[in-house]
Symmetry: C2
Subunit: 329 residues, 2 copies
Amino acid sequence: MPKVTITEVARRAGVSAMTVSRVVNNTGMVRPETRERILRVIAETSYRPNGIARSLITQKTMTIGLVVPDLTNPFFPDVVRGAEDQAFEGGYTLYISDIAELPAREERVLERFEASRVDGVIVCAPRLPDERLAELLSGHPAAVVINREAPPKVAGTVANDDTYGAMRAVHHLLQSGREHIGMLAGPPASRAGRLRSRGYENALSASGHEMKSGWLEPCESNEHGGYNGFKRLLKRHKNLQAVFGYNDLVALGALQAAQEMGLRVPEDIAIIGYDDIRMAALATPALTTLRVDRYGLGAEAFKMLLIRISGKQPPAVLLRPELVVRQSA
Amino acid sequence: MPKVTITEVARRAGVSAMTVSRVVNNTGMVRPETRERILRVIAETSYRPNGIARSLITQKTMTIGLVVPDLTNPFFPDVVRGAEDQAFEGGYTLYISDIAELPAREERVLERFEASRVDGVIVCAPRLPDERLAELLSGHPAAVVINREAPPKVAGTVANDDTYGAMRAVHHLLQSGREHIGMLAGPPASRAGRLRSRGYENALSASGHEMKSGWLEPCESNEHGGYNGFKRLLKRHKNLQAVFGYNDLVALGALQAAQEMGLRVPEDIAIIGYDDIRMAALATPALTTLRVDRYGLGAEAFKMLLIRISGKQPPAVLLRPELVVRQSA
DNA sequence: AACCAAAATGGTAGCGCTAACATCATGGAT
DNA sequence: ATCCATGATGTTAGCGCTACCATTTTGGTT
C-alpha cells in the first residue's frame, strides 16, 4: 500500500492539512478535541510524515554525514559511538561512511553527502590533501574535522593533544629517574609523529635536559619499525634508559628487541607507547601507554558541528590523552 | 552563498530547466554543444543537484538504513564493510546506526528511517521482539535481517549457518579420535545457542553416537560462564575428551579452567570455539574455532535487499563458517 | 521548395509539506 | 448588543526537481 500523506490524514479527520501539520510538529494552537481526533487518524493510518518533503521546504534535513577511514580499525567505532550518541539525542540521523582508507572514496562520499543536503559533515582523520579537502568541505553548510587542521572558515577542528600526551609520557619517565630517553619517532611525514616529537622535546628541555641529536630516531609505524629503530638507538647510545614509542606497535617492536637482547623491561629499559590498542594490555610486560579519548573525539566533534551549523566558529578543541601506567614503565 | 538551483543553471546557460535535467541525468537527447555549454555552467557554479527535491518526485532516495547492535564489537564493522562496499558500488548511501545494544533505540531508529523514506533497511542481529520488529520493518519498502528469522513478506534473511558450523566442529573432534565430547551451550535463550546445539547433536547422532543427557551444559556467554561450565561438565564426566564452546569467550574460559586443573590442551582435552575473535589466535594454545563470513553477511544482505526492492522475494541465504584449525584441537 | 520523421527543447503540473498570511469563531469587557 | 483580543482554522504559494506532453528545430527526401 502506498504511504498515507498529510492531505489524506486531513481529509479523514475533516480538517485542513495545516492543522494536521500543526499537530504533528506541535506548533501553533489546536483545540484539544481536534488534536485528539487527528492523532487517532494518524494512529489508524500509521501515517509517517515525509521527511523528504519537509526538508525541501525547511531547508534542513536533520542528517549529518560522518566519514571514517576504517571501521575495522578499533579506534574509529568509539569515535562513531560518541558522535552517534550526540546525534541521536539531538534528533539527527547520521550518514556514516567507511571509506576503507581510500581517498578517492572519501571524495565521492563527500560529494554524495552534498547532494543529500546533509546539514553538516564530520570527517575523521581525512585522507585527502589539504586543498581538495577544503574544497569539498566548503560545499557543506558546516564541517568539523577530527585529528587534522583545516581553515577555520571551512571547518572546525577537534583533535587529540599529541604534544601534551608525549610530554606526559616523558615526564613520567623522568620522574621514575630515567635521564637518557630516546624516542622512536615514526615516519617523518606523519602529523602525529611531528606533534609527539615536539612534545618529547618540550618535556626534555622544560626539565633542563638539553636536546642532543641522535635521540630522536625515525622509524616505520609498525612493530618491525620499532624493532629495528630500537636496535639503532641502542647501538648509538649504550646508556639508553628509556624509549618513548610513536605508537603502541612501535613500542611493542622495541619491547621485543629489548627482550631478545637480554634487557629487562622496565628495570633496564622503560618503554612507553601511544594509543592504548588492545594488544598493549596483553603484552608481557603490559605496555604503559597513552589512551586517546576516542568517544570524546566523536562527541565533541558533533557538539562543535551543531555550533557551527548555528553560524558560530568555536576555537579548536584539544582532548588530552590519559597516561595508562602498566608494567613497562 | 546559497546553493545554485537547476533554474539558475538553466538561466545562465540560456536553456530550460528540463534540458539541464536531461544533461545531469544523462537521459533524453541534447545537442552536444548545448550539453557542453551546460556542463561548463555547472562547473562554474559548482551546481549540485538537490537530491531532496529529486527524491520527492522520483519516490526513491537511494539511501539504505543499516542498523547494527554495537560497532565496538569487532564482529559488526566487517558486516558494515560488506554492505558499504555493495552500496557504494550501486550508488546508494547508507544510514548506519549503532544502537548501542538498546532495543528502544533500535525502535526509534527504524521509525526515523521510515520518516527519511529510505529505500530499504538491513537490520543486523535485531534486538527487538519478533512481533514489534515485523511491525517496524513492514513500514519500509524492503527489508533484510541478518542472523535472525522474519516473515518472508516482511523481510529477507541472511544468516550464518550455525548448525553447519557446529557439525563441522564436532566432526573435526571425532576425526581426531575423541569420542566423549561435551558442549558448553551458552544461554538457553540464545538463538545461536540453540542452532549450534542442534548441529552438535546432529553431528554426534549422524556418526552413530547416541546423545546422552548431561553432555550439553548451558552457561553464560562469557569467559566466566565457560570456566564454570567446564568444571561442571568435567565433574559429571571424568572421561571428557573434548569440549565445543558456544563461542570463543566460553571456549577461552574452558581453556583456562582446564589449564588450572593441570589438563593439557589439546592432549588431554581438545577445545573448539566459535566466532574467531581476535583473542582466539592470541591464546596459548591458540584456539581452534569457526570463522563467520562477516563481510559476506553484509554483502549478501545488501544484494538481497536490492532484489527485494525490485519486488522479488529470494530465499534465505545461509553462509557457511570456516573451520580455523589452530592448536587447541 | 515542400515535406516529414527524428532530434532537440520547452511548458505545465505536481511530488508532500510548511511559511506566511487570511479568515473565522469565541467569549469576556464595555 | 457591540467590540476586539485571542484562539483556532483555512488558503495560497512554492521549496527544486522531473514526468509527461507539446512544440520547435534539424537534416535529409522527394
